[in-house]
């Protein structure tokens, strides 16, 4: 991990104690968020999301495969995340490490638990053939809060995803011309908090992440319900902080959803 100087660490914590941050934001402000959809023509759906200098690209691919035996009428969602070496000096080439697996699983949980995709509409032949949606998260520049940016990019890409039209004739699946929009019912938004010096700050950037005690991420659906939570980092939270974070996450998710008109 890139070491942050003690001087900077002191400066960041002192500012936060006064309710300010090194990059000029308030404790509950997100960085500027930019979303661009349909940037990769070869992918069934795609999006680029910027949180300040953090940059994520998500591409989706759709294939025909077998459903899981316990859910024969449902399509399959598969999320993978790559911490691409060009995104940070701390990312190494090689098989996914625990950080990329955790990131993928947090993004997956937000989409899955909120039932964002109408998976029953992805069924071609019950028990035999369904559409599999692959969501690949590509981190291109790491400046903190990969979780919220990746979750948002994944949703943006899914909203932009088209699945092929098909018909079933004598047990054969024939792909027809044209596309249908992937059925998306919910818009889960994930909000992450860093605990620094016993205060919560939203959307931590890289230097804040390097000195934080712990982080807490919460995915919120369109109805304001919590649909996934993940605590990370080697610190802890007081029960009161956790409830405070939940309330704040709900506000932030609404704010982002409104801004993006989703």
């Amino acid at each position: 991990m890139a070491m942050i100087t003690r001087v900077k660490q002191k400066q960041i914590t002192q500012l936060i104690a006064k309710g300010k941050r090194l990059d000029g934001r308030g404790l509950t402000d997100y960085r500027e968020i930019k979303v661009e959809q349909g940037i990769i023509e070869r992918a069934e759906g795609s999006a680029r999301v910027l949180f300040g200098r953090t940059e994520i690209v998500v591409g989706t691919k759709i294939e025909i495969g077998q459903p899981f035996p316990d859910t024969p009428n449902e399509g399959v969602l598969t999320v993978n995340a790559e911490l691409v070496p060009l995104a940070s000096s701390t990312f190494e080439p090689g098989p996914p490490d625990e950080n990329s697996i955790e990131l993928a699983r947090i993004v997956d949980r937000g989409i899955r638990e909120s039932k964002a995709i109408d998976v029953e509409k992805l069924c071609i032949e019950p028990g035999k053939k369904v559409f599999i949606v692959f969501v690949d998260v590509y981190v291109l520049n790491h400046d903190g809060n990969l979780i919220d940016a990746s979750a948002l990019a994944a949703l943006a890409a899914l909203l932009n995803t088209k699945m092929p039209n098909f018909e079933v004739k004598e047990d054969e699946v024939k792909i027809k011309a044209g596309y249908t929009q992937l059925p998306i019912r919910k818009h889960p938004i994930t909000a992450t908090f860093a605990k620094i010096n016993d205060k919560l700050v939203v959307d931590p950037w890289l230097e804040e992440e390097q000195i934080m005690d712990a982080r807490l991420s919460m995915a919120i659906d369109d109805d304001g319900n919590i649909c996934a939570i993940q605590k990370g980092g080697s610190g802890y939270f007081a029960p009161q902080q956790v409830l405070e974070a939940a309330k704040m996450a709900k506000e932030k998710a609404e704010e982002i959803r409104k801004k993006l008109e989703w």
């Binding site: 316990d70 859910t71 449902e74 625990e98 697996i101 955790e102 993928a104 699983r105 949980r109 899955r112 638990e113 909120s114 712990a214 807490l216 659906d221 304001g224 319900n225 919590i226 649909c227 996934a228 939570i229 993940q230 605590k231 990370g232 980092g233 080697s234 610190g235 802890y236 939270f237 007081a238 029960p239 956790v242 409830l243 939940a246 309330k247 709900k250």
Partner: protein
């Protein structure tokens, strides 16, 4: 999960195994169960059967993993192939990688890591039989194994899950409740510091329900904490008896 299922709570308000909504499963804890390990513990919680062992503090290999200012904690959560209904491949799954990470991060705040710079400690968790909330039972056992190894700690970490089944908030989900219920909230606590060291959730909860889940889990953790301390004491009481 969208499967049709029988009721998880009956008319009398009892669950499939006859428990009340805020009742824990029967728990059995034993400390110092493996002779080779520096510390170990075994827990049974419902049908969960889980072993935890500690090796260290010791020199780290490979050496570049050593940290200049504190001890490196490593953790491996692993499920035996025979621990679940359908054989699980012994290769670590993505789920196990994630759980190893969150279990490690739930134990880290409890240890005075700065007392042992440049060293490492290994926490091994083996799930011999799984019955829901295994990560929680694993944390409860692993923290005891750390104490058994004589590692200086701020407090024991104790974990327990809360969740929502049949529209009702309950404590300590077992396997069927986890799979068929609406939400699962794994939770770990250092009771004396009132510090939450693990918090996850999947499913759907309103803010009010989430608060209820936190309160249920806090209570559950305090109950298991008492059993944890008893189990730790029991080991040393039995040592005395042997000497006499």
């Amino acid at each position: 999960m969208s499967q049709k299922h029988e009721k998880l709570i009956d008319k009398k308000g009892l669950r499939l195994d006859g428990r009340k909504l805020d009742e824990l499963r029967p728990i059995k804890i034993e400390v110092g169960v493996l002779s080779n390990a520096d510390g170990s513990a075994y827990i049974e919680q419902g049908k969960n059967k889980i072993l935890a062992a500690i090796y260290g503090p010791k020199e780290l290999h490979p050496k570049h993993l050593a940290l200049p200012d504190r001890m490196a904690l490593r953790c491996r959560y692993h499920m035996a192939p025979f621990s679940v209904q359908e054989r699980k491949s012994p290769a670590p799954s993505r789920r196990e990688v994630e759980l190893s990470k969150v279990i490690r991060e739930s134990l880290e705040p409890s240890i005075f890591l700065e007392y042992y710079p440049r060293t490492g400690i290994d926490v091994f968790v083996e799930v011999l039989q799984a019955d829901g909330s295994t990560r929680c039972a694993s944390i409860t056992a692993a923290s005891l194994a750390l104490a058994d190894a004589g590692i200086p700690m701020r407090d024991l970490v104790v974990a327990c899950s809360a969740g929502k089944i049949d529209g009702t908030m309950v404590l300590d989900l077992m396997d069927t409740e986890d799979k068929m219920g609406e939400a699962d909230v794994p939770f770990a606590l250092m009771p004396n510091l009132n510090a939450i060291t693990l918090l996850q959730m999947d499913g759907i909860l309103t803010l009010e329900e989430f608060e209820q889940a936190v309160n249920l889990a806090l209570e559950g953790c305090r109950k298991i904490y008492a059993m944890q301390k008893e189990a730790l004491k029991a080991k040393y009481v039995s040592v005395k008896e042997v000497e006499e």
